[in-house]
Amino acid sequence: MPPAIVVENLGKSYRVQHQQTRGGYKTLRESLTSAAARPLNRLRRRLDPQSSLPDPTSETFWALSDVNFEVQPGEVVGIIGRNGAGKSTLLKILSRITKPTTGRVTINGRVGSLLEVGTGFHPELTGRENIFMNGSILGMSRREIQRKFDEIVDFSGVERFLDTPVKRFSSGMQVRLAFAVAAHLEPEIIIVDEVLAVGDMEFQRKCLGKMGDVANSGRTVFFVSHNMAAIESLCESGILMERGRIASHGPIHNVVGTYCETLLAATHRNSHHGSNAPLNGVIRSVQLVDRNSGEARFIKLGDDLLLSIQLDLPNHDNHPTIGVGFDDLSGTRLLTVHTPLTCVVPGVRGHCRVVCHVPRLPLPPGDYWIKVAVSGSGVSADSLDRALLLHISEGDPFHDGRGFTRGYCIARSEWRVVPL
């Protein structure tokens, strides 16, 4: 079987205008004057090459460059990266919305792309009419839409309003109807952008479930999201984009781990002169380690957490307290652990390495900021607000076949019958 997608040397450049006149649209006058000035400028540059940059008002910006990868049929690939890393440009090229500047993409199979929920919805048309309109735009034939019509209406749950113009729908109803249509698309290769970021929690869960079905149905899926938990539970392999290039490509857990490290590095860079910098160098480093003291990138749900903290304590301080806090990405403290008050951890003095061991960390899959603080004799000695970005991936710690279901923490449970 040939690969589903082959991308070779793909690049896309844009010209960036430095001095944008009037909102960025070119007007005919500007185009005519620049067309008239172009040969003159070219001549001037040829006569005096050192005089100035090639074109001082614009420069070429490579949104994508030198991108190479292959996707096998049935593979579910997650694309991650920070904003502006080139993820959307890549998706736009793969779904043929825009053309690349260099390179080539070969796709074997029918492609359906879903860069937005409800493309082609018209507010004046009724729900029924929009199902046909949207389905047709997504590439379904009229007969196919008719065949799936009842299913789509069922899934959306808006059958009572089918003959109402969509502009009178609540935004949630519009999204539900739109996703219902998209969910019934059946191409061999499906390209999905951050569509799960809309709607309420319940709807997002439904979408994720549907995405899981799609991923398990043997179709090739290309999926962009900032939701690491979703990406990890759906995808087998991942591609990390950074400034238009592929920074990492491989099994999804490794790629997500690398991504978290780059995020952390960026935070440290940004916060070097901020309040996150160590106050006086007591905390030298914080590292996630595995049982063999090797560096780890992430832990699985319910794993033991091992943090290696390197300290450089003032010599007179013999009874320091160390605290480790876990915040979610919005900054809410979820968990704090401390060295005990009742006894002293022996050997914590001077230049030393302390390992903090939390058996079966009870936090759900996701990303957490780890804060480390050290105080000596009650006075704060040092603290590091965002010492580490901890990533917890999906797992099944209690071997109950469920893994994480819902809530804010996990716990082991036992069930037995007692006589009445």
Binding site: K26, L28, E124, S141
Partner: protein
Amino acid sequence: MSIDLEAPSLTPARLAETNGHVPAVVVERPPQTVIEPPRGWQLVNARELWQYRELLGFLTWRDVKVRYKQTLLGASWAILQPAMMMIVFTIFFGRMARVPTGDIPYPLFVYAGLLPWTFFATAIANAGNSVVGSERLITKIYFPRLAVPFASVGAAVVDFCCAMTLMLGLMIWYGVPPGPGLFAVLPLFALIALAALGVGTLLAALNVAYRDFRYVIPFLVQIWMFATPTVYMRPESNGAGWIDTVLALNPLTGLIAAFRAAILGDPLPWSAIGVSAATVAAMFVAGCLYFRRVEDSFADII
């Protein structure tokens, strides 16, 4: 599924791959799409447009539906617009200015001209703004971009068919029997539609890069209307040679005159039709060529 992008073709390389055992194996392969940098001038990909014909139909249907949503009179507006124009022109040109129209009653004369003209004007104005108006679609999903201006022209065809019923009513009212020329109405209308497709796609493509055309289009339509003998009869030969040449280059001159002649049972001006048909063909090819040349950049600059 309807998005067969490119059916697998039997290139020599593929033949070699399958060791000469061609048919069944190759046909079962999924369609292959190759995405490469823009290649410059290219003609209309008729096969692809044909594959997307249902979408073209849906876009037309949407334009028609949306146009008369939440109006009291609905599709009657398609008749009312040219009808009111006819009344205005009858009062000012027919009664007050007494524009000569031969022995044809002025309302009949002017409506037979306004009918194809209104179609043409609506079609190019809507098509010209269609691509810019479909920004959401163009930046979010792939389909042959030509479907957008084509659908606008398609919606104008529906309006034309509604307005045609009033034409038939007027013919009965004034007792004008339909002649054999009536058979020419359809091909003549097809030529006018082709002209609208050519001009409409050109304006649509220009409008994406240069929003000036948003303001140029209404102005262009007005001037074009007066440059076309729609509401007046073309003076046959009054010696003004250069005006005649300019008017003859305007394909609508010949086509609207021919349309009117076909409806009212006059002899058809075959030479004018020939010249117009050639100009229309050139316009269509030029419009589509330019559109196809720049369509790859639509999503980036719209």
